[in-house]
């Protein structure tokens, strides 16, 4: 089973904002700095970083990892905004899988302090001593494949394999076998049967990744 390649560090930070419904409650941002690979130049985020950011935003939205209601403090007035910043430190292909995995692990780690609205002053009061974990409803796991010449499929491609591939495919599944996202940006075609193969592989991968993550989270020292 190929390991997750490419290390990521992510830490969602939070702010309470006055807002009305319709504002983004989670703002993901994927950064591919020049230090992770000589492919990337310094400057504004390139194509790949922007595509990855949008992909993560879609995953959060579609798989409903967190519900908007959970982030709400006082409806119509105050809610949490989660800033998810993912930085790639070492790029060796398959960035989307690693981003999703890091995002999920970090969201499971987030602790939000209790906020209450003082009736007299109508200001928010934050109680840093009482923190609770986020309510993570689903656990989406991404599985990427590299396609070669319409026939060969490789799971979890490395940087070299990605460069030589004629197409890529990313499947995001959650634990009940529901598809959150299917990302196939052009490239060589795939038959329906091959696609089904990919889905079943994604289901197996989900189990493996979920066990690994649960182990890690359990082994973490409580703060």
């Amino acid at each position: 089973m190929p390991l997750i390649k490419g290390m990521l560090i992510e830490r969602p930070s939070f702010r309470s904002y006055f807002h009305s419904c319709g504002v983004f409650l989670s703002v993901p941002n994927v950064d591919l700095p020049p230090l992770c690979s000589s492919r990337f130049r310094s400057g504004p985020p390139g194509e790949e970083a922007q595509v990855a950011s949008q992909f993560i935003a879609d995953v959060i939205e579609n798989s409903q990892i967190i519900q908007k209601e959970d982030l709400c403090i006082s409806s119509g007035k105050l809610a949490w905004v989660l800033y998810c910043d993912l930085i790639c430190l070492d790029y060796d292909g398959n960035i989307l899988d690693a981003c999703t995995f890091a995002l999920l692990a970090a969201l499971k780690n987030v602790q939000l302090p209790e906020v209450s609205i003082n009736e007299e002053t109508s200001l928010a009061e934050v109680n840093l001593k009482k923190k609770s974990f986020l309510n993570i409803r689903t656990h989406p796991v991404a599985t990427s494949f590299a396609v070669f010449d319409d026939t060969l499929l490789i799971v979890d491609p490395t940087g070299e394999e990605e460069r030589l591939a004629t197409g890529t495919l990313t499947v995001v599944m959650d634990e009940e076998g529901r598809l959150s996202c299917l990302h196939k940006p052009g490239g060589s075609g795939l038959t329906g049967a091959k696609l089904q193969d990919c889905m079943s592989r994604a289901v197996t991968r989900h189990k493996e990744v979920k066990t690994l993550m649960d182990e890690v989270i359990k082994s973490m020292k409580p703060k």
């Binding site: 290390m7 560090i9 830490r11 930070s13 702010r15 941002n29 950064d31 700095p33 020049p34 230090l35 992770c36 690979s37 000589s38 130049r41 310094s42 800033y83 910043d85 930085i87 430190l89 070492d90 790029y91 060796d92 940087g159």
Partner: protein, 245 residues
């Protein structure tokens, strides 16, 4: 008065250290596979990562190539989550550019650039958690990364910050001590020759006190050198075991 909080009567600082005591330093070399050289350092709660690519051909315009030596390019980036408040711009802002320039000037003094004419050496530094002494942590990490890349240097470059409170010079300032607003000095030293690669001071300091602060910073830098030397030897030892010598 800020000075009363930073140094107690018994001579202990906010985090329980003595005046000349450094924070715990942990460092690792060769952490990444993609880069030519990489290193990770933790100085107390400050965490910095340095990655080196090169020497390689000049990127962009060939006209920037220097005929007799290598071009050193440094970029400093502070992660959005590195400080208590989320940073809007991780790089490209004024402070990052200034830091990048300072790092470049520091390393141009240390790297033997004459050995690689017409080429470029990229040093990227990423601060993952900032708790004071970020310049020092960056320089120390970058030194290890350059050594990991096998780029020849005149000497180690070891850096440390120092401040002055209540008539005592403090070495290795944490964020709390930096934010108090007293004089701060950042020093980058080449330990073997005792030469100063970079010296920068903020806020007012009486010239009589400068010597003490400078000595505190230099001593701290020499302590850092002992540690980094040990890290490098350990790394080389491990690498040679893997190669099966």
């Amino acid at each position: 008065m800020a000075g009363l909080e930073l140094l107690s009567d018994q001579g202990y600082r906010v985090d329980g250290r003595r005046a000349g005591e450094l924070r715990k330093i942990q460092a690792r070399m060769g952490v990444f596979a993609q880069a030519d050289g990489s290193a990770y350092i933790e100085q107390g709660n400050t965490k910095a990562l340095a990655v080196v690519y090169g020497p390689h051909e000049i990127r962009g315009s060939r006209s920037r190539a220097l005929p007799d030596r290598a071009l050193v390019n440094c970029q400093y980036s502070s992660a959005t989550f590195s400080t208590g408040e989320r940073k809007r711009r991780p790089h490209g802002d004024r402070k990052s550019c200034e830091m990048g320039l300072q790092l470049r000037q520091t390393f141009e003094a240390a790297i033997l650039t004459q050995l690689h004419p017409r080429s470029q050496i990229d040093i990227y530094v990423q601060v993952l958690q900032a708790d004071g002494g970020t310049y020092a942590a960056c320089v120390n990490a970058a030194t290890l990364a350059v050594l990991d890349a096998g780029i020849p240097m005149r000497d180690f470059v070891c850096a440390c910050s120092a401040g002055f409170v209540d008539g005592t010079a403090l070495a290795d300032l944490s964020h709390v001590e930096e934010a108090a607003g007293g004089p701060q000095l950042a020093l980058a030293l080449l330990p073997a020759s005792g030469q100063i690669a970079l010296l920068e001071m903020d806020a007012r300091l009486h010239e009589d006190h400068l010597e003490w602060v400078l000595e505190a910073a230099a001593q701290a830098a020499r302590d850092v050198h002992t540690l980094l030397d040990r890290v490098v030897r350990q790394h080389v030892h491990e690498a040679s075991i893997l190669l099966g010598d």
